[in-house]
Structures are given as C-alpha cells and as structure tokens.
Symmetry: D2
Subunit: 438 residues, 4 copies
Amino acid sequence: EDVEFFKGISRIPYKPDAGPTESLVYKHYNASQVVLGRTMEEWLRFSVCFWHTFRGTGADPFGFPTLIRPWDDGSNSLENARRRLRASFEFFTKLGVKYWTFHDRDIAPEGGTLSESNKNLDEIVDLAEQLQKKTGVKLLWATCNLFSHPRYMNGASTNPDAQVFAYAGAQVKKGLEVAQRLGAENFVFWGGREGFHSILNTNIRAELDHMATFFRLAVAYKKKLGFKGVFLIEPKPKEPAKHQYDYDAMTVIGFLRTYGLENEVKLNIEPNHTTLAGHAYEHDIVVASAYNMLGSVDANTGSPDLGWDTDQFPMDVRNATVVMQVILKQGGLQPGGLNFDCKVRRESTNLEDMFISHIGAMDTFARGLKNAARILEDGIIVRHVEDRYSSYKSGIGAKIEAGNTTLEELEEYVQTHGEPQRISGQQEHYENMLNFYL
Amino acid sequence: EDVEFFKGISRIPYKPDAGPTESLVYKHYNASQVVLGRTMEEWLRFSVCFWHTFRGTGADPFGFPTLIRPWDDGSNSLENARRRLRASFEFFTKLGVKYWTFHDRDIAPEGGTLSESNKNLDEIVDLAEQLQKKTGVKLLWATCNLFSHPRYMNGASTNPDAQVFAYAGAQVKKGLEVAQRLGAENFVFWGGREGFHSILNTNIRAELDHMATFFRLAVAYKKKLGFKGVFLIEPKPKEPAKHQYDYDAMTVIGFLRTYGLENEVKLNIEPNHTTLAGHAYEHDIVVASAYNMLGSVDANTGSPDLGWDTDQFPMDVRNATVVMQVILKQGGLQPGGLNFDCKVRRESTNLEDMFISHIGAMDTFARGLKNAARILEDGIIVRHVEDRYSSYKSGIGAKIEAGNTTLEELEEYVQTHGEPQRISGQQEHYENMLNFYL
Amino acid sequence: EDVEFFKGISRIPYKPDAGPTESLVYKHYNASQVVLGRTMEEWLRFSVCFWHTFRGTGADPFGFPTLIRPWDDGSNSLENARRRLRASFEFFTKLGVKYWTFHDRDIAPEGGTLSESNKNLDEIVDLAEQLQKKTGVKLLWATCNLFSHPRYMNGASTNPDAQVFAYAGAQVKKGLEVAQRLGAENFVFWGGREGFHSILNTNIRAELDHMATFFRLAVAYKKKLGFKGVFLIEPKPKEPAKHQYDYDAMTVIGFLRTYGLENEVKLNIEPNHTTLAGHAYEHDIVVASAYNMLGSVDANTGSPDLGWDTDQFPMDVRNATVVMQVILKQGGLQPGGLNFDCKVRRESTNLEDMFISHIGAMDTFARGLKNAARILEDGIIVRHVEDRYSSYKSGIGAKIEAGNTTLEELEEYVQTHGEPQRISGQQEHYENMLNFYL
Amino acid sequence: EDVEFFKGISRIPYKPDAGPTESLVYKHYNASQVVLGRTMEEWLRFSVCFWHTFRGTGADPFGFPTLIRPWDDGSNSLENARRRLRASFEFFTKLGVKYWTFHDRDIAPEGGTLSESNKNLDEIVDLAEQLQKKTGVKLLWATCNLFSHPRYMNGASTNPDAQVFAYAGAQVKKGLEVAQRLGAENFVFWGGREGFHSILNTNIRAELDHMATFFRLAVAYKKKLGFKGVFLIEPKPKEPAKHQYDYDAMTVIGFLRTYGLENEVKLNIEPNHTTLAGHAYEHDIVVASAYNMLGSVDANTGSPDLGWDTDQFPMDVRNATVVMQVILKQGGLQPGGLNFDCKVRRESTNLEDMFISHIGAMDTFARGLKNAARILEDGIIVRHVEDRYSSYKSGIGAKIEAGNTTLEELEEYVQTHGEPQRISGQQEHYENMLNFYL
C-alpha cells in the first residue's frame, strides 16, 4: 500500500528561472503567491480529472490503446480500481493540486446489477475517503456516467424507454449519496446522450419535458439528503449525439428558465464544447458569468480546425488571460474550480507526459491569472468599456436603463437630437491593449 | 402607370405534364388543389420578399452589381421606388403569390432626417395600399431595417450609445404604424447588429438587458396602437456580427423566458440561419414548433459547405417534406407563411431567372406538402414514433410523465425490474420509410 | 459449418410495389434490370465492407459496444474469425451483393509477431477463398490496416521511426500477396495516421518524401508479384490525425504528380471524407473523374452539421443521382465499385438493421442510376452545359483552347470586340431541371 | 499637393516603455534593430495594401459604408484617385513601412473601354512612380482585379465565355506592364471567381485547362517583357465562389505540377484563407515553404468561429512566432514580404484606427520575430525535431531515405528486429517549450 507509482518524480517545485527543457518544474505557478488578495491556489482551484488521466487508454475510433500504465493490469477488478486510485492520489499530491473529479463508473467497476455496482462503488469510496483525508485533496465535483453503458444509447433521462429513465434516476441517487459522503463541492450533469441522432424517430418536446422532470427529482433528493454541493449542467452541442439538448450556455439557461430550474442549477463550462458550438473560446464563460450562472470551468482546449472534442491541455496564454479576467471579476469560481478535463495525446505515451501536460496547463493559467490581475489593477480596459456605455447613465439613456420610456418619447428625442454621432468601436485598440499585458 | 414590366411572361400556369425545359410553368404547385382539407395556397401561404427580389443588385463583398432591372434607374428617388413597387406587384401577380414582405427602408428611401424618412415611407405606403387593394396581394409581415445604416454599426437596441437605441425605437414606432396600415399579419425583428465583434469591448449583459427593454417598449406600443400582427424574432447565429444574441431557436426562447416576453413574441425561422448555427436544416423549425413558438418560416436554403448566408432558393424535396410535416402537424403556419427570403445567384442575370427560381422553390414545397400529407394520412411513421415512447403511458413511465415519483422509487423500480432491454432506434428504417414517400 | 446465421431472413427479393413497412425487400434495386445497356448489378457493383458490418461493435469515444452478434463471442480466436466470415458470406448472399472488401486485420487476428499475424491471415484467407468460390462473391478490394495498432500511432510510412516504416512495408507485402490470391480487383491505401497532430514536432517534407518512397516500393512489389489490381489512395482530410496528407482528391492528385506516381495510383473517393474537407458531397468524385483518376467509390454519407466521419448509409436520392451521372459518363467504375463503407448507427441494434440499412442504400443508388440514365438519355442538361462552353469551339476561343495565342492577341481581340455580354449562369434553372428527374 | 492628410499624427516612433493607452507608438517594432544578422525591417518587409486601407468603405453585405475619409469625395474621378494615392504615401511614410501593394482597379478607375481603363491607369501610375521615388516606398507586388467587374461573374480565365478569357488576358497584359514600370518585386494572381457555384452547370476540367493556358500566356508575356518579378498564386478555398480551384497550398502545388508550371509560379499565402480551408493558421505557410514554394505572406487573421474571410489584423503573438520561425528557417521571404491584407473593422471609424491597427500587427510580428530568433538561436526545439527523425540517418532508415530497398527487405528487417518501440510524440512538451519563448 505504500508503493510509489511515479518513481523518480518528486513534488513538482516552483522554479521560475528554469529553462525550456526542464519539464518537471513550474515556471509560473507558485501556489502560495498572493495575487489580488488571494493565493494562486485559491484563485485557480485546479482539479485533476480521474477519467482521462487514470482511465484514458489512448484508444480512438481508429486505434487501439497506446497508454500503458504500470499499475493498471487492464482488468475490471476492484483491486485494480484501488491501485489506480492510489496512483492518482500520488499524482495529485506530487503535482500539488488540491482537487479531483470523477464519474461514478470511472473509479469503481459497473457490476451485473445496480446493487453490485453500488457495492463496488462503496468499496472504492471507502478508499477515496481515506486518501482524501490522508492527502488533503478534496473532491471538486462528482458526476454520474449516464452515457457509456449500452442501456443509455438512446438517452438517459431522455430515453424513449421509461425504464432507462428509472435506471438513470437510481444511478444519480447513489451518485448524490457518494458525493455527499466525499464532501463534493459540486455535482455535474453532462448529457452526452440527451439528444438525438435523427429527428425522424424523436419527439423532442417529450424528451425535454422528461429531462426537466429528471432534474426536479434530483433537486428534491438533494434537498432531502441535505447535500450542499452546487448542481451544474455542462453544455455540449454534439458528440456523441448528433444534437445535444444542452447545446451551449444560453440554451441551458433557457432550458432552466423554461422549466423553473434557474435557481437550482448553474453551469460548468468547457471551452472545447463552446468552440464546437460555433462560439469563441471564452464565449460561454462570459455569458454564464453575465447571468450569475458560472459555477465551474473545465479548463481545456480544442483545435479550431477539428470538429470534435479533443480535450487538449489549455496552453494559450491569451485565452487563459481572458478567462481569468472573467473569474476575477465575479470574485472567483468557488465552490467551483478549474478542472482539467484534458487528456494527453494518445501519442504522448511517457509517464512523464502526464505531469508535463498538467504543468504546462497550470503554468498557462498562472500566467493568465497574473496578466488578468494586472489588467484589473491598472483598470484601463475596464474603464474603456464602462465609458463606452456611459450614455445610459443619464438623460434618455437612464430612462431606457430603467425601462421608463416609450417609443413615442424616443421618437421625440430623435426629432430633437437628430442623428447619433459615429463612435468608433476601436476593436484593434482593445486588442492592442490586451496584447500589452500578454 | 399601366406599364408592363415583365413583357412576354404571363400568369404562370399549372402544367403537370411539362418537360424539363419548360421553365415558366408549375409542375407541382396547383394553388386550388385540396390537400388534407385545405388548398395548397392555404397551406403554403407563399410570400415574395421585396429586398432580395427587388432591391438585390448581385453585389457581393468581392463584386459589383450584376443584376440590371430595366425599371430601376439606380437612383434613390421616390419615382424609382414607385416603379419598383409596381414591378413587384406585377411579379407577385404573375407568379400567383398572395403575400409579400418588406423592410421599411427597402420600399422607401431613407431621408436626411427621421421625419423625411417617414414622409418618404408614407408616400410609398400610399401606393402599396392601392396595389394591395387592386391585386389582392397581402402583407405577410413588415420589418424595420435596423442594420444597414452606419448609425447601427454597433447595434440598434444593443448599441452602447443610448441615442442609437432611441433612434431604433423611433424607427420601429413608425414601422408598426405602417404595418398596421397595410394590414401586416406579422411583424419581424431580425437583429443583425444585435451582438458583437469583440468581447473585449462589450458588456454582454447590459446589451441583452437593453434588448429586452426594447421589446417591452415595442409590445407596449403595439398594444396602444391595437396592432394585431404577431411579433416574431428571427434567429441568426452570426453574420454580419461575429456573434448575434438571437443565435438560434432555443437561445431566443431562453431570452424571451428570461425577460418574461414568451407570451408576446414568437419565432420566424430561416433554415439557412439554422444550418449556420450548426444544426440540421429542419432543427429550429421542429424545436420552435415543439414549444408552440413557430410563427413563420423564411423558406430558403444554404450550402452546407459554406459558412455564410447564401439565401438560396430551397430546391430539396426531402427538406421541404420534413418541414411541411411539422407545419401540417401544428395545423398550419397562419398567420405566418413561407416567405422566400432568397435571392437569385448574382450570375442568374436574366429577368426570367426571377421567375424560374421562385417557381422551382414553389414546386419543391408543393411536392413537400403532397409528400407530407401522404405520410400523415398513412400515419405509419407517426405511429412508429408514438410507439417508441409508449412506455410513458403506464406504470412507472406514467408516474414519470406526471412528475409524480422520486429517485428512491426509481431505485426500487430498478431493483425489481433490473436491466432495461436494448431497443433499436431503427434510424435507417425511418430513413427508408421517409424515402418511400419522396 | 452449414449453420444459418440470419434465420428468418431469406434472399432479399425485388418487390417494387411493397409498402413503407416492408423493410426486407428491394423496391428499386432490380439486379438484372438493364439500364443504358448494362444490368443494374453491372453498373452499381455494390460491395459490403467487412469492418463496419462484421467488426463494428457500436462502441464510440463515449460509449461501450452495443451491437451483439450471436455468432461473435468477442474473442480474438481464429474460430471466432471463421464464424464471422461465414456469417458475412451468408449476409452478402442473402443481400445479393457480389463484392466484399476488408482490411487484413479485420478478418484475421493480429498475432504477437509478424509471422504469427501472417499465419493467422493465411488460415482465414483459405476459408475466404472457399467461400468466394462457393458463393461467387468476389473481392472488390483489400487493404492493410496501418492505423489501429499502437505502433502506427505516429504514422506508418510517415512515422519518424524508420522501423515502423519497415513494419508497414512488411505488412503491405503480405497484404498484396493475399489480395492477389483472392483475386482482388483493387488495393486501397487509406492513410489515417499519415499526417500529424502538431506541426511543432513534425517535419512535413521528410514525411511526405517517405510516403512517396513507400508507394514506389509497393508499386515495385506489385509488379514483381504480377498483381493486376488497381492501386487506390483514399483521401481524408483529418480524423484520426489532426491533418492528413491525403487531404482531398486534388491534394492526392498533386502528391502523385509531385512524386511521379500519377500513372500507378488512382483514387477511391468517400463522400463523407469529401464533406469533411469542406467540399460538396459529389465534389471529389467529379474532380477525380475529370482527371481520369476515379477508381472506386465508398458510397456513404455524413451529416453536414457534424465534424467527424459518421459513415452513414447513403439515403439521399439527389446525391446518388449526381454521383451516378458522373459514373455513367465515365463509362462505369469497373474494376472499382460502390463499396458501402457504412455502419449502422450504434442504436440500430437489431440484426435486421444490418439488412435494412444496406437495402435502403442500394435502393437509393438504384433510383440514382435510373434518374441519371434518364438525364443522359434525354441529354438536355448535358447539352445545356456544352452550349455554355461553345465559345471555345471557334474563333478566339478555339485558339485559346489550343493554347495558340498571346496576351497581345487577346488585347487586340478585346479592342476590336469590346465588352463581353452578360450571360446568365442559370443555376436555378439547372436545379429545376435536375429536380425534374428526381 | 503638399496637403497633409493625417494631421496631428507624425512618424510613428519606437518607444519600448510606452503604456497600454499610448497607441501611436511601436513598443516592439524597431526597424533598424538587428536580429540574426538582419534588421527587423529586412526580415519583416512589411507592406500596406491599398485596397482595404484606401478603398475600403466599411460596407458589408448587410450594411452601408461607415468609413469616411476626408480626402475621398466618393467619386470615381482621377482627381480623387490621385488624392487617395497621396494620402496613402503619407500613411506609408508616417507608419514607416517600405512596401505597398495594389490591384490595378484600386488605384485607377475602370473606364468605359479597355483603352480608357488603361489610360486612367497610366495617369495614376505616373503619380505612383513619382511618389515611390520621393518616399522610397517600393512596390511589393501588383495584381489585377479579375473578380469585381460583372464581366467576371462566371470567372476570368475559367469563364465559359472565351471573350471574357480574352478580356482577362488583356487586363493582365497591362497589369504586367505597369508592374514592371513600378518595379514590382512580385505579381500576384488571386482567382476569386475561378471556381464555381454549381457543379450542375460547370465543366471543371475544361475550366482548369483554360486556367493553365492563362498562366502559360502570362508567363510567356512576362518573359517577353523581361519582367523579373515573381509570379505568385494566392490560394483560397471559397468566397466569393462556392468552390475555388486554388483551394489551398497543396492544391495549387498540384495544379502547377499537373500543368508543368511549377518552376514559373510560387505561392502567396494568406492565413485567413488557410483557416477557411480547414487547416491550422500556419499550415499552408509550412507546406509551401517545405516545397520551396513560399513566395510571400498576406499577414492577417480570421476568427476561427466565422466561415468567411474577415481579413483582421494579426494580433496573436503565438501565431506570429510560428510563422516567423518558418520564414527565418528558409532565409527570409525576399523578394516577398508580409503584406497586411487586413482591414479595420467597419466599426473602427476613427482615422487613428488605421494607424493603431497596423501598429498592433507590426508589433505582433516584431514580437514573433524576436521569439523565433531566440528559438532558433537556442536550437533546442529544432534539435528535438531532428532527433525524432534520426532513425533515417543510418541502417534500414538510410536505405529507405535513399529509396534503396524493397518490401522483401523490409519484411526481413521486421522478422529480425521485431516490434518497434513505443516512442512518445511529446506534443505537450513541445507546446510547453514553445510557450517558454512567448
């Protein structure tokens, strides 16, 4: 039980003067460094995901597994599950990350019956509890895998078969109990099969009504249980389904409002999903935050030239800076965090690549944080934006702002004041100002 | 004033046995033919749009105008505007279409001041009223152009400058008055500049709040005026803006619910916008109808390999069939219709091409209507879908349907009933069944 | 050995008057029916692919296998491989398709060494030979799987490691021998890993030079062997690689010319790959045929709103008609064919769905063939296109056509003849004419 | 004639310590600073394009012009053309850029006949010659606009009408004469209308044959003239045409080889076109350089979430670094350069925005140059890549490299050496190394 899995790798140190080939050091992430009144660790709340990093095999639709982990014998046994979990906590600890995330079925094998699955889960959760206590690593969020098992091929809560809906409900019940036990700070719903492949065989309205019912039942049970974690829906437009109902941030917000769930559920935004939905990298983070619905972020990236989810480690400092600005402005993500829903490329087969990839992403977000803090401390860009909207502070603008006018009054105003001035949007100037801080 | 503009072309006849080169006849559209209890004309409610068909020049971002219309001297004069309008009513009549649509600024030239613009508009509306009366052609919907004038470059109701918001309000006031005068059955809002080019200089939340206020003011004035037309928002994800707030059907429904406008406004869906948002052709029509929000359709198409709005004439019988099924199922589009928001290719420079393109689209939708009617009369596909969801009619399914269960009960159910059966989605069978009717 | 795998399903009959729910009959495909001087079977040369239809499990990146085949015990044994092969020949026969295709590793399990893999392959090829003889089903093409095994993760012929190049060469050597033994009419190369994920670690020029060398070695061995099948490259732009060198038809033609291989290799075009490359469905088929490089077609389709290869069964009659027109114009595809590189949806779990999907696609192409034949017999559209280019038949056009002019002469011509006339491209008229035949 | 057009703006100075709001200074671009043995000015060879910057109006498909330039009266007069040219040379000079580019029809108005157009062009070229001499600004490249005039709507050299081909030839003849007179260092061909909107009415092969003939005629005339500038084709996949023949770098290279033009023509790569073709930003620059075909670069960018050419100023330091690495590795772009084929956003209506946008892009590329130089001086990344391919330096790899082996020999090699080792591609490590330099 005291086996060391990552031999030769010790706690990743902060070494700001390291060169490009020193790969197992942080050059920017300094957990205890204070920025705008909090430590980097407090602002960034990094989390490692268990599924990609400890269950990812490198298999893709055209290729077999490539990632061989010495602790993983490839079996579905509980013993193997325990070894994986021990390896993961060593990884979290050496990396110096304080949070992890998982799906129920990642950490414990699915059994032949629900009871057996639940029993397996309980056994692993026992170990997880110990390891959490021992290491101080906490559970950012848990989630139920309602998409991999064949029973969910036509949807979980949106399945045309009510028995599958029931099964998903039973699985979420257990998931919530486990989340509570492990002190999960949030609970995520990702509806990978909640959608359709063909409109021809689908009753969209019925399915969405069922999905809403499902959330209502989960909310009720959460309250009964006294679970305090925040419910989060993670939008994704497509893949595996041809169309997923949780298309993007605005669609989910609309769904929640349509069904009166807007006070019960927030959003977990993954930028790779945002770009698949046709938006800019930061779009859904900005939108969710604007409506006080940004609960957590799956910090990853895709390739803009690819039409599927690549779950790459986020390495773009510009993007990280823009995201961190949003997070700083809303006062942080807590109880959410930056979860690395990322996988090493299937060609990155060295054990070291697991560290290198996370380190790169953490350094990227540390740079993003420092840049964003400078931007906000300087206040220049923020003031530029405020000035742009200042006409709503007085006169007719203030009346509009208050909703206290009529089309007739606006017409009169125009007849008195005539044609508005042409005011430059200065996009390139804003881009240059941003570049100044990068 | 009794000039004939389309010499040599008479009323397009229905000639079902015509060959491929007979281009000025309907081979499928037979206005008075009864299908499922209504005439084709009543189901299809075709409308010609004034902007593309009478103001389109064939100019594109890389090329100068190509479309020379003998009645159009290229000037901004009222006289020219009148000639265009007369030509258009001759066109509607010869085509045998009963509806038209326009933007305020298409039909009458913008003046140097709002008053002058309104005066120009009034003069042309006088003529429009006469021509409507004389020909029996009616106004499906009117709309205000709040995107072409430079004052709107940074948005109309979402402009950072309150004075522009005021201007847009004044323009819509007049637009509503004109719509009422001409008996418009609907009034459309398309927010081509309601969005942004750069998140850096934009306060999304402020802009969306202002947009909601704008709709509230318009609703208030509509009621004051007693205008009975239906308000419709037309979603589009992008172009000209990098991101438009009315991204797609679900986004708009969410916006309306967020701001309490869901009972005041419905949707006008344009499939070319739907595909630009990353959805299947019929997606937004299906979704809007599922929530009783489908008010009208801009019947056009794009090219799936192009990333901009091409506004092509819809020529795909499969797509028309699927759309007409939705429309038949909801009992028709009235007071909406199928508006051809389409333009001849800039290379289609013959005057005849104006007719040929509309005829092709009308024949396509006539085939779609006949196919959809056969599908619904046979009832086979509909029953297949109903059967697929039949588990929600009784037992645990009925309890779910009623929202009358708990996760605990679902867990018990699973413990009793075990693993659900694997039930084929039969997508290919549905595709074959659809193909049977095409 | 005389086990029947598809009990209750007999030879699919042609039954033109069948209704929409009769799913196990051809309504349009009548193998022996003569169209333009050949039977449907001769024109269409349908082929079933072994990989999707007999090795597909329904697994996707987010889900486990769903497709359970009673003859497949999920093992890697030769016995299992033999059962699969017997089932497949029963399927080909009951479907009435005369060709099949496979990858070496689909039909026989990869062993621990190359020799063992080759031995496995030989054993299965023995059985395949028997089954081909017994049923009359022939091998349209064989191919080597140079992408699934982890050794190929960084490429096969373009791998930075020469030892992998060598391995790929050895595998293709055996593949060619097997292809010859089974009388393959073609041999396909699909370079799923010939490309890159990151330009940062890649020497593109070195990799392409190696790829060309690989083809030269294969051509040399083919000649030595006396194998008469046609070599075909199958373009695909991306997936699994971020960028694949065989991007599209024009890219491959350029590659072949750059390296002097244009007389040794033709193209196998898959429309789902074409659309992923940003082209229209039929584009690469048209382009390859225009340069006499169209060797074969993987008859499938994707969803235009999805950014990955869905390998759906082709069900669109319009697309099938356009493709068949190209094929008829070039005098047929022989020795190539229409290979169904398609998979049932993972939700289509019934054994019957295997038949239904192929039947639907075959009926679609039979309709396409009949439509295309009518178009060409009528000759109207063809003549329209010829007329459009008729100016190159005489005068200055003929001189241009012959390359027999100069810019000076063209300038003189313009000074004499002035501005060209505006000639309508009549796109909508062409679309209507095509619709006439659909 | 000594009017100052940009009053209040003087020569843009280099001021490395300037703050974010100081917008009219270079913070990174220091023309005379030596990097890797050349000045920044020599490596970067910046060029301003006349069309966007002095003919751009801000009009878009949905909006009227927004950009009002005090020197431009909007007329087509020669006097206006002269004022624009004088303003542009003041702009080049104040910006401190040494090159410009133009289309024939940008600088001088098209006349009613070719002779009149040529006469207009001659008059303006007289002035351009004077201004070039006076300011020292040189012509990076000239090009002919063969896409805006309606005569080219169906193509220039690929037009179905031979008379249009002739017209295009005559126009290029004059363009070459003008280019020679002004000492153009290159001559660009961008085939915006060389493609199609519908395959139905198009003979692709005939059109491509004609296009090749066109280039042959241009090459012949170039030689006759003794013009020494390099011919460059600029690839673009689509827009305005639905499909353009010069799709991307590989397609153009293939075209040139197919028609034996590979020694006469190189490529001008525009990254915004590259991304529209579905590739990564730097892809076509890398590919063209790998085949010694990279002649020049149109330094701009698009938005990955938009499907059309936005021609934005390039502001991404990571992209600029990667591009500059390629350029440094091939020893520079000369006689090509970095041409800003960019336009200010139509909302950037201040005269200052013209400067701010160019300054931002120049600073971005200056940072890219400095980063790339450090990367190459350190040599670490380069050596990593070389090591990755080192197996081709000896043994079986060297034989493969030399093309001096057979499949049989490779098989023997595998039988002796067995399974290759799994070698990590280390993508994340490369990304981290790159980030080190950004």
